[in-house]
């Protein structure tokens, strides 16, 4: 199921055809809803792992912030939630697929015009914006756009439009970092 798309891995087997990936992802998303009643997600699991760490280091602080209190206040265990295990599964699944296809190796993907250091900084800043935005929007591309989109949630479709709009709006300004 190889494809002749321009972006390919430096080494290892080529990526799947996008329609094949999409179909399989769609069937998986359906199964997740069918069996468990909820879809997929990623930022929620990252959030809880982080709160778990915060709760280890500074439990008093967690007990004072209402947003954290809901997940880890008192004797609540932030890891006792399905999304955490889904997130750990995602990490292992990504690694397993990469190993099988020979795509696990240290590298930095970026446009040719910028240095590794700048790419890393941009990745951190972009990640911070994403992480913040994902909490504000109550979901990331997986939990809101993908899962909410499939069950036709109005808010999720508005969210999806906003994500694409934000990215296309700034794509021109950032063209040097990717092209």
């Amino acid at each position: 199921m190889a494809s002749d798309y321009p972006v390919q891995p430096r080494r290892g087997r080529p990526y799947w055809n996008p329609y094949l990936s999409g179909l399989l992802l769609g069937v998986l998303l359906f199964l997740a809803f069918f069996i468990t009643g909820s879809g997929l997600g990623a930022s929620g699991g990252m959030n809880r792992l982080l709160v778990w760490l915060q709760d280890l280091l500074m439990p008093e602080h967690v007990d004072q912030v209402p947003y954290l209190l809901k997940m880890a206040g008192g004797s609540l265990n932030p890891l006792k939630n399905w999304i955490v295990y889904l997130t750990i599964g995602t990490l292992i699944g990504g690694l397993a697929s990469g190993l099988r296809a020979g795509r696990v190796y240290v590298e930095t993907n970026k446009g040719p015009a910028i240095s590794n250091g700048l790419r890393w900084c941009l990745a951190f800043v972009g990640g911070a914006l994403m992480g913040y935005g994902a909490r504000l929007a109550r979901g990331c591309t997986s939990g809101q756009a993908l899962s909410g989109g499939a069950v036709l949630s109005t808010g999720s479709w508005l969210f999806m439009i906003a994500v694409f709009a934000g990215a296309y709006l700034f794509a021109y300004s950032l063209r040097r970092s990717w092209n």
């Binding site: 199921m1 999409g22 069918f34 997600g41 954290l68 994403m130 909410g148 808010g155 508005l158």
Partner: protein, 397 residues
């Protein structure tokens, strides 16, 4: 109603359930990595029209999952009311989405894809994950400053078919058809900008598209089950419970539930405004004019320890509403046996003022909230807390 979704924790215990979630996550990570989503260049190429893989994968997944979900619901296999639909908060969603869009083009990933990038040792992915964790940390610390905005423009569980006022099945067909048109346009753009020959795309995609469209048409023809059809699948079982008086709860039991701090008890009064104003149980809400579908949604979204009691004037007048709400999958739903009449017969006494036609005492009447220690007696306990099937949070809570 339908067998699915399952209550995994009830069926398998938390370790078994978490293992299933881990497996779903494993497949999720495998697919994301195989699609090339661990490579930030693949993701960023979307925004320079060089290859529209992000768009294709996302919308193929959405229309496939959507068609299967609504098909399973149409066939009565899946109870759509128990599925988690991310609630709509318009402006926090739009503003957060814009922020994420900017983060996407700056950082090159989204949270899910950065996980598989980091797992396959992409350094930029690792920095992105650290950045995302930092962003989440900052959010947790700063949301308190603008809490009202975070909770603003809340529209609850709202779906596009309701927003647009169209039939669900028709909307499914329209979304599938629109996505297929978008894919056609995307391939055209890729040929013009990215130089990707259309011929190289697999031929099976036409077959898959036709199959999806046919399934969507089937969903539209069969239609989503309405209350009547939902009740028909339950009728034998639930009508028997009603006739065996398994759901009619003695006033004494209701009183003890009202004072059970481990439970949340919701009392819904079905009588008219006049009767309600004269007398009602403590915290009873009058629902004679309420829209039952909205009410069902609200009740399903309540925490798992919620018990809902319907109170009519004399008991059996609550049966019709009970049937309707049960068909909509409202859990832990009971009827006050004998209604308000039986309640007053049990707790009203000579010492208390009469429930007077001209006095709108409501729940200020002493019998609205009797002292449970003064009324002891035997009753056959009916309420059994059923473990909840509907998830109370999505993948991002």
């Amino acid at each position: 109603m339908a067998e699915f979704p399952l209550n995994l924790i009830d069926a398998l215990g938390s370790i078994g359930a978490f293992f299933i979630y881990g497996l779903i996550g494993f497949a999720f990570g495998w697919i994301l990595e195989s699609a090339g989503f661990g490579n930030s260049c693949k993701l960023a190429a979307q925004f320079y029209f060089k290859e529209l893989t992000v768009l294709k994968v996302m919308f193929t997944a959405i229309i496939t999952a959507m068609t299967l979900i609504f098909a399973a619901s149409a066939l009565g296999l899946l109870d759509i009311n128990l599925i988690w639909v991310p609630p709509t908060y318009v402006w926090p969603g739009v503003f957060g989405g814009l922020l994420m869009g900017v983060g996407f083009i700056v950082g090159g990933f989204c949270p899910g894809t950065s996980l598989v990038a980091a797992a396959t040792l992409k350094i930029d992915g690792l920095f992105f994950v650290l950045g995302a964790l930092f962003g989440i940390l900052v959010f947790g610390e700063t949301v308190g400053i603008y809490e009202p905005f975070f909770h603003s423009s809340f529209l609850g569980r709202l779906t596009l078919d309701e927003s647009l006022g169209v039939d669900t099945g028709i909307l499914v067909v329209v979304v599938v058809a629109a996505a297929l048109l978008i894919f056609y346009g995307a391939e055209w753009v890729e040929q013009r900008v990215g130089g990707i020959e259309r011929q190289q795309a697999p031929r099976w995609r036409y077959g898959a598209a036709a199959l999806l469209l046919a399934m969507a048409a089937g969903v539209a023809v069969i239609g989503q089950p309405d209350n009547e059809r939902r009740w028909a699948t339950l009728e034998t079982l639930e009508e028997a419970r009603l006739n065996a008086r398994e759901v009619q709860v003695d006033p004494l039991e209701v009183l003890s539930l009202m004072h059970d701090s481990a439970l949340r008890i919701t009392i819904l009064d079905l009588r008219d405004e006049y009767a309600y104003n004269r007398f009602h149980l403590r915290d009873a809400q009058r629902i004679a004019d309420a829209d039952l579908d909205t009410l069902a949604e609200t009740l399903i979204a309540q925490p798992a320890n919620t018990v809902t009691i319907l109170t009519g004037a004399h008991g059996d007048d609550a049966n019709e509403v009970w049937r309707y709400l049960r068909a909509e999958s409202v859990p832990n739903l009971y009827i006050l046996d004998g209604g308000v009449d039986a309640w007053l017969a049990r707790f009203h006494s000579e010492a208390l003022p009469a429930v007077h036609p001209d006095h709108a005492l409501g729940s200020r009447h002493p019998a609205a909230d009797p002292n449970p220690r003064l009324f002891e007696g035997d009753f056959e306990p009916k309420v059994k807390l059923q473990v909840k099937r509907a998830p109370t949070s999505g993948g991002c809570a």
